[in-house]
């Protein structure tokens, strides 16, 4: 019997693309769809997806939950749960259009919610942790329901199919955002489940990832000590949790998060100035099990920025370029040139060297 994603680990190769306006200008979703379509050969029609930031300005203070349901009973169970924990300000089906290559779609719903103050106070958690706990609860315990996007003023759109078809299916030309990421998947198995497509998201963190990490179970078994449940058994899922844990829970700046997951080699650390050496030693010692080995190129999306990172041996291609206030990142330069023919300063970041781009220099928008 063919096992469903989440019951078996499925490695996959991929294409990734991302773009961001440093000035916070809003870019139409069709741009990123066009970019990723130029890497059609890098995916095999078994998964595609997008994350857009700044796409829900009218609801920017509410958590936007995007949910897949297998049937109406899982939807009803989830909505009962949401009702108990959140104030649901708006709910609707996510608008899609029929597409000949996108079939067997689940029910796809969107909710704009805010935690119920009484529930939040009773939980003794901060707001984000409360939301995370609720999302993990739904994904683990409600059969047939899967929350695949849960941040504010951002959203993930994904499906089984080629990414350009997925973008068309979700009518991404109707959305504008200050940053976008995209993913085309090439799994080595037939997952046939929409939840397994990328980006993977938790709160406003999204990850698109190309690679197959060899440290998977070491990372998974470590991160699960801190309340995460790796339900999907995918690399992307565990990488997202690692970023959430280090950046949100341990308050480690993203530059340093990069030094944990793609840690400098010990012989490089030996040559660092004393203060930096101590810090790197602390980070490698404390978070040894969060070192990610094996090939990866990832783009992390977060509220107000993007970060691109390669594994420390640079076993996957990834280039960065810029034009005006827009920074482009992609597995192949062709995907950038497709939407920005005169892109400038194209370069390949070194293995383990993070590229972090923030809107308005990191000022909140």
């Amino acid at each position: 019997m063919l096992l469903k994603e989440g019951t078996v680990r499925i490695p996959s190769g991929c294409a990734i693309s991302g773009l961001i306006s440093r000035d916070g200008k809003r870019i139409n979703g069709s741009e990123i769809v066009k970019s990723i379509s130029y890497m059609h050969e890098r995916s095999n029609g078994l998964g595609g997806g997008f994350a857009g930031y700044g796409i829900y300005p009218e609801y920017k203070d509410l958590y936007a939950f995007h949910v897949f349901y297998e049937d109406n009973s899982s939807r009803e169970a989830t909505e009962r749960f949401l009702d108990r924990h959140f104030d649901i300000v708006n709910l609707s089906r996510i608008p899609t259009r029929k597409h000949k290559n996108i079939t067997d779609e689940p029910l796809i719903w969107r909710y704009f919610v805010t935690p119920l103050p009484t529930k939040l106070a009773a939980s003794q958690l901060d707001e984000k942790e409360f939301v995370v706990k609720c999302v993990i609860r739904i994904n683990t315990h409600i059969d047939g329901a899967y929350v695949f996007s849960s941040g504010k003023n951002m959203g993930v759109f994904k499906a089984v199919g080629y990414p350009e078809d997925v973008g068309d299916f979700y009518r991404l030309e109707e959305y504008d955002g200050y940053s976008w990421t995209a993913h085309g998947r090439y799994p080595t198995n037939t997952p046939g489940w929409w939840g397994g497509a990328h980006p993977f998201a938790l709160l406003d963190y999204t990850i698109v990832h190309n690679g197959e990490i060899s440290s998977y179970d070491a990372n998974k078994r470590f991160i699960e000590m801190f309340g995460y449940k790796c339900n999907l058994l995918t690399d992307t899922e565990v990488i997202t949790y690692i970023f959430d844990y280090l950046n949100r829970k341990q308050h480690l700046p993203l530059e340093d998060v990069a030094s944990v997951v793609a840690a400098p080699f010990w012989n490089e650390i030996e040559d660092m100035p004393a203060e930096q050496r101590e810090k790197m030693k602390l980070l490698r010692g404390m978070f040894a099990s969060l070192l990610i080995t094996g090939p990866f190129s990832i783009i992390l999306g977060f509220d107000g920025g993007l970060m691109a990172l390669n594994d420390r041996l640079k076993l996957r291609s990834m280039v960065v370029g810029e034009k005006g206030d827009v920074v482009y990142i992609a597995s192949e330069e062709a995907a950038i040139r497709a939407i920005c023919p005169d892109v400038e300063n194209v370069w390949s970041p070194k293995g383990g060297e993070p590229v972090i781009v923030k809107v308005n220099g990191g000022v909140n928008i």
């Binding site: 197959e212 060899s214 179970d217 990372n219 078994r221 010692g285 404390m286 070192l291 076993l315």
Partner: protein, 501 residues
């Protein structure tokens, strides 16, 4: 013949056409198996006291000797093996407890051999350790739970005292007394050269070896032999020995014959007196008492040294380890029941405790279930035979391994299982000066360095094959293992899938 006659286990076979009567075998055998008959001008041997240590065979210049299992045997019996019957004869005669040395020779399952390692194919690349960096450094000790920052956002958290290993291999506790000074010197110098640690065992530390302190783990065991303030401070870590895999639940006994002048001074006990380590620490009757000893030792060393608590792998090991992790210990060492010993009651050695593979798997999982795995490091020992065992141990969840039997073999041990007799022909488990000098520490330490370097090369090769370039990313990475020929329950405890899954 009297009814308690026990036929020798081995026959010493001498090829008289090769023997040149040089007498080397006679001079080399501390068990006095060989002799020269003047009248007949022949070399003779009486295998009654032969322990099959292979010294004479190795030293014979003309390869005239071999030791083979004796052909004489009791009538074969499916229920009563010859050894069972002979042991009854010996106990009927002497009324004593049977003693043995080294690890159990019984045929218990070796789970290392029932696990297979993964490798990369197509979807991710394997890594060539000759071309790319491949890291085997390990930091052992407690890790902080939470990062703290000052107002400027600078990290203020510090690493707790820890051990830094260039290879994930340390030399396990063997006391000066149970093994010779030359053996100790070999271990100390090898540890220094390899960037790792050796362990004093419960015998104190000879003054000559204080200079190797930064590569030394000093042990505090139930007899407290050789423990004083300077001793505690000279090492890099302190190990509290609660138990030993070869003899869980019982103490130790170093016969007075081994307590000569230097051993006596180092242990701080009279010459010729038996050194008896009690079964329990008499100040530790419970987990809260352990916590007090951990902190007493930390106080005594001004909180500059990590404390290791070493336990034998017993049935309830996961719960015990969890208690230890909460007792202030920085490192837990678990010793499996196939581990060696200088002397143990045979029945205990062969029947008490559990295999290290299962103990490790359940301890690692328990500590993760309780979210305290990063509070302690786990070191396992007791039957690590080669680099593949180490890879499997790390993948199950160990931070590093202890080796002792293998280290002694590198020094010449031939596993004759007779350490308790004190007449080790290889100069290892003996205090007789004429025997000790056979082990040249200059040669010994190089052989240890060779062994560990060879294993480390192999570890790097296998890591690279898995597409991993740091041993940290293998730790607890159980998807890299598959079982072969294991039942569901065994797979469940090991936390691994069966091959083909």
């Amino acid at each position: 013949m009297p009814i308690n006659y026990i036929y020798p286990k081995y026959d010493v076979v001498r090829d008289s056409t090769r023997c040149i009567k040089c007498g080397a075998c006679m001079r080399q055998c501390a068990n006095e198996v060989h002799s020269y008959d003047d009248e007949l001008d022949v070399m003779k041997s009486d295998s009654m006291d032969c322990v099959d240590c292979q010294r004479c065979v190795s030293i014979c210049p003309t390869r005239a000797l071999k030791i083979i299992p004796a052909e004489n045997r009791l009538r074969p019996n499916g229920s009563w093996a010859q050894d069972d019957i002979y042991e009854i004869y010996r106990q009927a005669e002497g009324g004593g407890v049977l003693l043995s040395s080294m690890g159990t020779p019984k045929n218990y399952p070796i789970y290392w051999d029932k696990m297979l390692i993964n490798a990369s194919q197509v979807t991710n690349p394997s890594i060539d350790p000759l071309r790319e960096p491949m890291e085997t450094r390990v930091l052992l000790g407690k890790k902080p739970k939470k990062l703290e920052f000052d107002k400027k956002g600078k990290i203020t958290t510090k690493l707790e005292p820890h051990l830094e290993l260039d290879v994930p291999i340390m030399f396990s506790a063997m006391s000066y007394g149970s093994i010779s000074k030359n053996a100790h010197e070999s271990l100390a110098r090898a540890a220094e050269e390899l960037g790792t640690y050796y362990n004093t065992g419960e015998g104190g530390l000879h003054k000559d070896f204080y200079k190797y302190g930064k590569n030394t783990i000093v042990q505090v065991a139930s007899g407290r032999f050789g423990v004083h303030e300077e001793y505690l401070n000279v090492g890099s870590a302190i190990e509290i020995k609660m138990g030993q895999g070869a003899k869980p639940g019982i103490g130790g006994h170093l016969p007075g014959a081994k307590i000569r002048e230097e051993v006596s001074r180092t242990r701080m006990i009279p010459m010729g007196a038996d050194a008896i380590s009690p079964a329990p620490h008499h100040d530790i009757y419970s987990i809260e008492d352990l916590r007090q000893l951990v902190f007493s030792l930390k106080e005594a060393t001004n909180y500059t040294k990590p404390v290791i608590v070493k336990i034998a792998a017993v049935h309830n090991v996961a719960a015990i380890a969890s208690g230890i992790a909460r007792s202030g210990a920085d490192i837990i060492a678990i010793d499996g029941f196939r581990g060696g010993t200088g002397a143990a009651p045979t029945r205990t050695r062969d029947n008490v405790g559990i295999p290290i593979e299962l103990a490790l798997a359940s301890v690692d999982q328990r500590l993760r279930d309780e979210s305290i795995r990063n509070d302690v490091s786990i070191v396992v020992g007791g039957s690590i035979r080669n680099s593949a065992d180490i890879i499997k141990a790390v993948a199950l969840g160990a931070d590093a391994v202890y080796i002792a039997s293998a280290a002694l073999m590198a020094l010449g041990c031939h596993q004759c299982h007779s350490c308790h007799l004190g007449k080790c022909n290889w100069g290892i488990a003996t205090q007789r000066p004429d025997l000790v000098k056979r082990l040249n520490p200059e040669v010994g330490y190089k052989r240890l360095v060779n062994l560990v370097n060879a294993w480390n090369h192999e570890i790097k090769e296998i890591l690279g094959g898995m597409g991993i370039n740091s041993i940290e990313a293998l730790r607890g990475n159980r998807l890299m293992l598959r079982g072969v020929g294991l039942a569901d329950k065994e797979l469940e405890i090991l936390g691994i899938k069966h091959a083909g899954e």
